[in-house]
C-alpha cells in the first residue's frame, strides 16, 4: 500500500497547547514524525494530511522537512468531525486501497508491520499500552464491524485508529453526509461494515492528555530495552534506574550526548579510584547503571545509529580498561598477581571481542543465535557490580583473581559454544 491518509484536523483541546497535536513531541519525536517515518519504512509513498486552518502552516512546514511526497487538504469546518475529514481526502487517493490513520495516535514499528497484513479496521483485544476506558470500542461479528463507539455496551475489541480501506468507503461516506451532520468516522465504518483485523499486544496509543504523553514515553522507553544481552544486574538494578533517568532526559539530550556523559562519569570513576578505590567503585557502578540510557533514548526516540552503537561499545572498553588499570596500580602486582591482573584485563575485553567479532563474521547477534551465551556469567553489568563491591570491601586482589577466571572461562565457553553450533557448517 502506497497511500496513507492521516487525519489531523482535530483541535486537541485537552492538551491546551500552542502546537498542533500531531506536532507534540512524545519521547523526543513528534507524533506525526513517528507515523510518517514508520509508514515510509514499510513502503508508503504518498501522504495525504487533512488539517484545520489554524494548523495548516505549522504542519506543512514540518512535513516538508521529512522528505516525503505529501498533499495537505484543508478542513475549514473541523466541527463537522472526522468522517467529513475523511471525505475531503477522496479526490487525492489514487490507489484502490489506502491506509487511514490518526494524527494523534502513536504506533510501534511491530504494530504497523502486522497491521499491514490485514484489511478493514485494525483492532486490539487487550490493549497493553492504552487506557481501555478512554478507547473506542468495537463489536466484531463474523469478521465484520457490527457496532463501534466510545459508549457502546456490547463490544469485544478496541479501535486502534489504524485502517486499511478500499475506495468504496468514500461512496458510503458520501451517502451518509447527506443525512448526518456532523459525521464521525465511526458512523461510516459501522455503515460500511468493514472487516476487522486484530493486532494484539503491540504498542499503540492515542494522545489526549499530558498524562497520556508521560505514559507513552514510559512505555516507549520500556519497549526500547533489547531483549538479549542484558546481564543479571542490568535486569534487576540498572535498567530500573536508567529507565527512570531516561524518562526525564529523553526530550532534553541526544543519545550521543548520553554516551559521552556516561563515558565521562566512567573516566572520572577511574581518576577518583586513584585516590579512593571505594569511592571510585561507586562512581564506576553509577556509570554502569546509566550505561543503558543512550540506547534507551536512541530507540525510543527513533534516533538509533550504527555509529552510536559502535562508539558506545568502544568507549565502554576504554572505561573498563582505565578503571582496572588504576586498581592494578594500587596493587603493585608482581609474579602471580601480575598474571591475574593481565588475565582479568584481557578477559574483560575478550568477553566483548568474541561476540562482536562474531557479529562481524555472521551478521547476526551471537546472543540470539547461540542461546547458551545468555546463561554464562561475566557480562559487563555483572563484572562492574562485582568490581564496585570488591572495591568497597577492599578485596582488590580477590577481585582480579575472580575476574580473570570468570572472564577467561566465559571466553573459552563462548569459543566452545560457537564452535559447536557453527564449526561444522
Amino acid at each position: 500500500m502506497e497511500t496513507a491518509v492521516i487525519l489531523c484536523a482535530g483541535y486537541g483541546k485537552r492538551l491546551g497547547k500552542e502546537i498542533p497535536k500531531p506536532l507534540i513531541k512524545v519521547a523526543g519525536r513528534e507524533i506525526l514524525y513517528r507515523t510518517v517515518i514508520l509508514l515510509k519504512k514499510t513502503g508508503v509513498k504518498n501522504f495525504i494530511l487533512v488539517v484545520n486552518p489554524d494548523n495548516k502552516e505549522k504542519i506543512e512546514s514540518f512535513i516538508r522537512k521529512l522528505g516525503v511526497k505529501y498533499k495537505i487538504v484543508l478542513n475549514t469546518n473541523p466541527e463537522r468531525e472526522n468522517g467529513y475529514s475523511l471525505l475531503l481526502a477522496k479526490d487525492f487517493v489514487k490507489e484502490e486501497t489506502f491506509i487511514l490513520t490518526m494524527g494523534d495516535h502513536i504506533y510501534s514499528e511491530e504494530f504497523i508491520r502486522e497491521a499491514l497484513n490485514g484489511k478493514g479496521i485494525v483492532v486490539d483485544y487487550k490493549p497493553l499500552y492504552t487506557d481501555e476506558e478512554e478507547a473506542t470500542k468495537v463489536f466484531c461479528k463474523n469478521g465484520k464491524v457490527e457496532d463501534i463507539g466510545k459508549g457502546i455496551k456490547r463490544f469485544n475489541c478496541y479501535d486502534t485508529g489504524f485502517f486499511l480501506l478500499n475506495k468504496h468507503i468514500f461512496s458510503v461516506a458520501e451517502k451518509l453526509i447527506k443525512e448526518k451532520e456532523p459525521l464521525t468516522l465511526s458512523e461510516i465504518v459501522k455503515q460500511a461494515q468493514i472487516d476487522c483485523y486484530p493486532v494484539v499486544g503491540k504498542f499503540w496509543t492515542d494522545i489526549d492528555t499530558v498524562e497520556d504523553i508521560k505514559k507513552a514515553e514510559k512505555n516507549l522507553l520500556k519497549l526500547s530495552i533489547k531483549s538479549v544481552g542484558d546481564g543479571f544486574i542490568s535486569r534487576t538494578l540498572n535498567r530500573r534506574i536508567s529507565l527512570w533517568v531516561s524518562e526525564r532526559l529523553i526530550n532534553r539530550i541526544t543519545p550521543n550526548q548520553a554516551t559521552f556523559i556516561v563515558f565521562l562519569i566512567g573516566v572520572l570513576s577511574a581518576i577518583v579510584a586513584l585516590y579512593s578505590p571505594a569511592l571510585g567503585g561507586i562512581l564506576y557502578q553509577l556509570s554502569s547503571t546509566l550505561d543503558g540510557i543512550d540506547g534507551e533514548i536512541a530507540r525510543a526516540s527513533m534516533r538509533t545509529s550504527k555509529f552510536g552503537g559502535w562508539l558506545d561499545s568502544v568507549l565502554d572498553r576504554y572505561v573498563d580498561f582505565l578503571f582496572l588499570s588504576v586498581l592494578a596500580l594500587h596493587l603493585e602486582p608482581l609474579g602471580a598477581m601480575l598474571v591475574w591482573v593481565l588475565l582479568a584485563i584481557f578477559g574483560s575485553l575478550m568477553v566483548s571481542y568474541t561476540t562482536e567479532r562474531y557479529k562481524g563474521a555472521y551478521r547476526e547477534d551471537a546472543y540470539e543465535v547461540v542461546k547458551e551465551l545468555n546463561y554464562l556469567p561475566g557480562k559487563r553489568d555483572e563484572r562492574i557490580f562485582f568490581t564496585a563491591l570488591m572495591c568497597l570491601l577492599g578485596w582488590v586482589e580477590l577481585l582480579f583473581i575472580v575476574l580473570a577466571l570468570v572472564t577467561n572461562l566465559r571466553s573459552l565457553f563462548t569459543l566452545y559454544f560457537i564452535w559447536r553450533r557453527k564449526g561444522k557448517e
Copy 2:
C-alpha cells in the same frame, strides 16, 4: 542461464594419471568441483557432462555428491573429438541458450561473473595466468569469430574455453558432422561465426601438464590474498614466505588445521619466551609469518568459512596477549612501567576491536570504507615484527612504551576517522 554443458570426454594423456582429468585436484579442489560450484553460485541449475566410457563411473559418483541436477552423456567415440561431444549433448539442452565449458579448465569467480554478461565465445586479449603459446588462438573481426585454432597465423585474442551459445549451434554441428570426421569444436565455432566477448585479466587456465597444475596453484594462492588489511611486514616479508608454504601444504591440510598449528606455534613462542625472550621472539615472528596460510589455503581451495575467520581472529588475540604477558613478567613492572605494559596489551587488542566492532555495526570492512586506516602503522604484522626485533635487542621496556603509544594512538585515530566519515550520518 540455467544450463551448462561440460565436455569431459578427453583422455588427458599428458598427465598420464589414473584419475580422469576433471577430477584432478588443483589447489585442494577437483577441476570439476570448481566449475560446477562456481556456476551453481551464479544460478546454473542443470549440468550436462559428456564423458568417455572409462571415466563415466568415477565422474558420475563424484558429481552425485555435489548436490546439483546433472545428466551424464556417454561419448563412446572420444576420438571423434570435442565437436562430436558437443553434438551428443543436443537432446539434453532444454533452454534456448546455454553455457559450454571444458572439463580441464579452471576459472575464477570473477571471470565467470564477467563472462556471463556476454555471448558467443569468451576471449582474452592478454592472458595473465595461462601459457599463450599453448592456448588456442582466435581471430576476431567485427565482433565475430573469423578464425580459430592452435596454429593459425593471424589472430588477436585467445579462446578461454568458455562459451555462451544458442541452440542454433547444434544445427551447424549437424551439418558439419556429415562432411568432417573427426570434428573439433573450433571448426563448429568458426563455421557458426559466433560472437566474441572479451573478459580481460581475470584468472582462467587449462590444465594439460603437471607444470600447469603447479602454476595454477601458485596463481590461485597469489590471488587469494585480500587486497586490504595487510600491513607493511605482511606485504614485504610474511606473504612471500606464507605463499611458498601454502603451495606445499594446500593439498595436504585444511584451513582450520593451519589455523590451529599456527596458534600452537604462537603459544609455544610465549612459553619459550618465559626462558628466552630472544628465542621466543623469533618463534613469535614465525607464527606471524605463517598466520596468512589458513586464509590463503581457504580462499584458494574454496573452503572459506565464517567460523574459520572468526576463530582465527580470536586465537590471534590470545597469542598476542600471552606473548606480551610473558614479556611483562620478565620486566616486573611497577608504577609508570606497569601503565605502559597495561596500555600496550590493551592497545594491541583495541586495534582489532575497533575495526571488528565496526564490521558488526556496518556490515562492511572498515579498511575498505575508511581508507585512512590503511595508512596507520600498528597492524598485527608490524607489531609482531617490532616485538621480535626488540626481544632480540633486549629492549623490552622500550618495546612496551612504543607499543603503548602506537596502538593507542592508532585506536584514537581510528575513532576520529570513523567519526569523521560516519558520525554525522
